[in-house]
Amino acid sequence: METKHVLCATCDISCQLVASRKPGEKNFTLKGDYDNPMAPGAICAKGKLAQSTFDHPNRLLTPLKRIGERGDGKWAEISWEQALNEIAEKLRSVIEHYGPEAMAVTSGPWNCSTESGMTRRFMNLLGSPNYISPVALCLGNTAAVNRLTYGWMPLADFENTQCIVLMGHNTNSQSWVWEYVRQKLAEKRGAKLIVFDPRRSPNAERADVHLAINPGTDVVMCMGWINVILSEQLYDKEFVRDWTVGFEALRNRVVEDFSLDFVSKETGVSIEMIQRAARMYAEANGAIIPWSPITDQQVSSTSAIRAISILRAITGNLDAPGGEMLMGTHSDLLPESELELTEKLSQEQRKKQLGYNKHPVFTFKAADILKEHSERVFGEAYPNIVKGTHMAVPSPTFRAMAYGDPYPVKAFFAIANNALMGFGNQTLVRKAMLNQDLNVCFEQFVTPTANLCDYVLPGDSWMERPNMLDGYNWAALTMTSNKLYDPPGECRNIYDVWHGLAQRMGLRDYFPWASLTELFDHRLEKLGTDFENYKNRYKLKLAQYKYYNYRHTGFATPSGKVELSSSVLADLGFDPLPYYRNLSTTKEFPLKLFVGLREPQFFQSGQRHNRALRKGNRFPRTFLNVVDVERYGLLEGEWATIETVAGKIHMLVTIRNDVPEGLIRVPHGWWLPEEKDFGECEHNDGLVIPDSEEYLDREQGIPHLKGVPCRIYPRKKHRQYIGIAGAKK
């Protein structure tokens, strides 16, 4: 039996898998690695069936050049040489006409987890600050906001915790599996579970306390907990005295704006339940609030994430056993932040970063304030935690692309990211792409985004390349992965794209590594080993992390302490304490819409072409309470239209009594590869997400995805679908 360890990059979780095949067999079988001490056995259906996703007749095998209008789907196959020559020439022309800031790149970090900072390196050397990513709406922005309070993004210590708080985070055996396994094992050990969720989710059903909050009130509930913890003296007094600033200001904010009566009224949860949950969290000997996408995606996102950070700190859970670990990155490796060459990007160009002035929290404006403090504690001036701590803001970037405001952006690269469907206001993203001089996509399939591009470059998959993942620059966990197969056709790694363009744009000396493996070797030089040896020795390498590191280094903030009242937010012109905003329903839009729901068959907009997965879930479905189904004249299994101020989408109605009245849940990323138009303008949740200012978090500029006012009614104009049963295999 041949076995290899491999790291799944189907999603951002990176489960460690074991690939095995018997002599004579061509294909490997994938299983979760039960010897992995963190999340043993973790794997989902998408991971198990990954080969059928990649080994597919629709797989892109050669570079394509558009020969029709954008969106027509007419392509010519060309060589890599021609593709890179022409892209380099056109990019050079854009830069000459409009400046380097006219180049914007969006990158999906999981698919490109091998790039070792090369995307930002290429952009920094050219002079473009306009890197965006879907992590702006998911985890990356949380990392940036966490830095404001204590300088890093903590990793939850599930293995030792006594209490887990899930902020609506729907971990399960098919999504966020690495986290779910650790959570379930902690529960098995006896850890308490508290769940914030308007819905009676499976986690909520199992929880010791379920707080069925109203949508978008997460920050209010957290401030209510802080109220209980302060008034009942449940906080860690020694830690607060020695290691925090702004305690009195926080107390005043809680007393003035977050009385328990207000918190109860706004969240819809009784005072007794609020108190019970807050006590359970504060009194646990080690408690965690793992990252949640729910608080990433609200108009009160910054305040909610800050309130969570404050809870972690005042209860003494930072860097404590069973709490939240501030790990830094692995000192064995040359960090990605160093490889990115951020210092090559001038201050003048940084200030042009889109969103820099209006929504600065995850832009260079905030990162530059934290630079020296981060260097002091973690040895990195620009730690690019989850690749999300000094990005441009997506909405202003797409506006610049569409309207040239405040300056034109004319070359757009979508790297393993179905960008058209991955952000809010899909109509704007489409307009933005149609207004480009150059659109380039690096992908495995022709997605709706690729269909608007001028060049589509065929990318490898995680089964077709080696990998060395340093915990997304978040935690000192380095994981390695074997290549199982050769890439099919002419598929290449993302490193080859930047390397090839660098060769053609006068940056040859900065990309001296001929291959991805050589780049990994370079990152390991200071260990005196190479990738092959390192990979053979370590599936997972954990750093020698020690609890309470801050006692020696202080925190990576301007004060060196935990900033309960944030000096960085104050410097940026914002309220330094958490506050509350939400969106209200109206007569016209009487319901609230939760988008971004994950379904077990798919990660984001991926896997829609995979029949093995798709046969269990062929069409987009929305989930409603039976009362709302009857109230709005809907029928189960029939099409309905959901409408907001931004637009409309169509979905099949599914009655779900775990969903409360007044709420509609919508899955993310739906398109139909078997349909001629991909159904791209009819089903994706991005079509109904507005991104005008009142729908954005003020500090980050990210849109509200968890509770947009909407209405629903039976679909008026029906269409015939080919469906996967009618499509060619």
Binding site: G32, Y34, D35, N36, P37, M38, P40, G41, A42, I43, E159, N170, N172, S173, Q174, V181, K184, L185, K188, R189, S201, P202, N536, R537, Y538, K539, L540, K541, L542, Q544, Y545, E599, P600, Q601, K615, G616, N617, R618, F619, R621, G637, R656, D658, Y721, G723, I724, A725
Partner: protein, 57 residues
């Protein structure tokens, strides 16, 4: 964390390999029998499978 690091190494010494396997087994054992069964059989309203409903579409 140190033990976890030891478990996840590929050791060249067979004694260490056996020791890592033993520690791995003990690590799983601390959660009790069948602690990971949910990975194979978990009944959940969120496992959304419409194979029967959508069979011909």
């Amino acid at each position: 964390m140190r033990v976890a690091g030891f478990i996840s190494q590929n050791h060249s010494n067979p004694v260490l390999t056996h020791l890592a396997a033993l520690l791995s087994w003990m690590n799983r054992g601390r959660y009790g029998k069948g602690a990971l069964d949910f990975l194979e059989n978990e009944d959940s309203i969120d496992h959304l499978d419409y194979s029967d409903v959508d069979e011909n579409t």
